[in-house]
Amino acid sequence: MILTPVRYADVVVLTLQGRLDQSTAEDVRTALAPHLERCAEGQDHLVLDMAGVDYVSSAGLRVLMLASKQAKAQKGYLVLVSVQPLVQEILEISKFTLILRTLPAVRDALAETSPAGLAAFEPR
């Protein structure tokens, strides 16, 4: 599981790749931690790009839930985008759609949360 950060103004897009399961969950949690610290009111917005994630287990869902919980407590913005259909089904069956917010694509998140971020993202 690799996390690649890209910044668009005050928005950090983290691209996840691979399987988010018991063998990778703690690494992802550790890698998310510094980004989550800054995911707070008046600081960064956080977008998790899930396009490259083809499986999420219960251990992975727990890490996403903890991330969402922390962001919420800090009044930060965290959203998942580009969730693959199979992972979307797992979110629905586990009822995580009640906990995690998803949007179709990175652009949707930027358009929703940060005009400066959207401007930085759009090709000139």
Binding site: S58, L61, M65, E89, I93, F96, L98, I99
Partner: protein, 318 residues
């Protein structure tokens, strides 16, 4: 070996309400609309063959009691929830007064798992022998104290059967009642114990009232080993995964998602969801079953796990 479910509901027994019955009638008549159902035979064929399972059936509302029937002249049970009342009445009706032995393995002593014993008629009849096994130090006290004032009109001492209590140690295999039996401690308030029953090359796991923490890979692996190559895993799937690790964290129960994952890791053959949430109606439990089957299908990794949802009266032959 046959596994028979006498009680499958979690936390408290429930009964269908008038609204539930009405909902089933409306669903059945809607599905029947336009068909020529003008004879009892045609109606029965429609009900048995075409009507949705959750409309023509109910998952039932008795609390935990499961029978392992290997063809012996004695009875082997897990837990003494309200479902044991039906088993006792059935045993008396079929044995016609002939005494019997009952071997009961207790997951724990929370009320929903012991409340059937005061209504277990074989306990009142001299000649019957009931041996109750468990790992809790307070097992006997918990069973005894629900009899007698101020909770019940009959004192424990008035029970006619010979009742024995046997304390087991977890993680130690025993040869009991024709089975190789191993108990495992589980996360639940006051602890609960799962059981691995082995006999004639068949393995049945009874694992109810067990919460699984997702941040403890060693514990997960230990449960996968406990479930290893089981033919049937009877599994507490009371909550959704989201509920079990958020608002209902530390309430002591698990989810369908964790059940699928553990059975996949263990290469178990059949996951039977058990200890159903008491607020769920038949339609909701059926929906959870459909979702869980789908989850197993889309996460399958070369090994198929059959998925079912226990109902009162269900029988599984192994």
């Amino acid at each position: 070996m046959r596994v028979k479910f006498w009680g499958t509901r979690g936390s408290i027994p429930v009964a269908p309400t008038t609204a539930d019955v009405r909902q089933k009638l409306v669903a059945a008549l809607t599905q029947a609309a336009g068909r020529q159902l003008d004879t009892p035979a045609r109606i029965e064929a429609f009900v048995d063959g075409e009507l949705d399972w959750a409309v023509r059936h109910t998952f039932g509302g008795n609390s935990a009691c499961v029978q392992l029937d290997a063809g012996d002249p004695y009875y082997v049970l897990c837990d003494l929830g309200s479902g044991v009342r039906g088993l006792g009445n059935h045993a008396l009706a079929t044995r016609r007064g002939e005494p019997a032995e009952y071997h009961v393995f207790m997951s724990h002593t929370h009320w929903d798992h012991i409340m059937g014993f005061p209504f277990f008629m074989p306990a009142y009849i001299p000649g019957n022998i009931i041996t109750i096994y468990g790992c809790h130090a307070w097992l006997e006290e918990a069973i005894r104290r629900q009899h007698g004032a101020p909770s019940f009109p009959v004192e424990f001492a008035q029970l006619g059967a010979e009742i024995r209590f046997v304390r087991l140690e977890p993680d130690r295999p025993y040869d009991l009642a024709g089975f190789r039996v191993t108990a495992k401690r589980q996360r639940h308030t006051g602890d609960s114990y799962g059981y691995r029953f082995e006999r004639d090359g068949r393995v049945v796991i009874y694992s109810t009232d067990s919460e699984h923490k997702l941040d403890d890979p060693a514990a997960t692996r230990a449960f996968a080993e406990f479930f290893r190559d089981a033919d049937l895993v009877i599994f507490d799937a009371q909550y959704s995964l989201a509920d079990s690790i958020s608002i209902k964290e530390d309430w002591g129960h698990s989810s369908n998602v964790v059940g699928v994952e553990l059975c996949q890791m263990a290469r178990a053959r059949h996951l039977c969801m058990f200890h159903h949430e008491p607020t769920y109606d038949d339609a909701k439990i059926a929906a959870v079953l459909a979702e869980t089957r789908r989850l197993e299908e889309i996460t399958r990794d070369g090994h198929t796990v059959q998925v079912s949802s226990a109902w009162d009266g269900m029988e599984i032959d192994l």
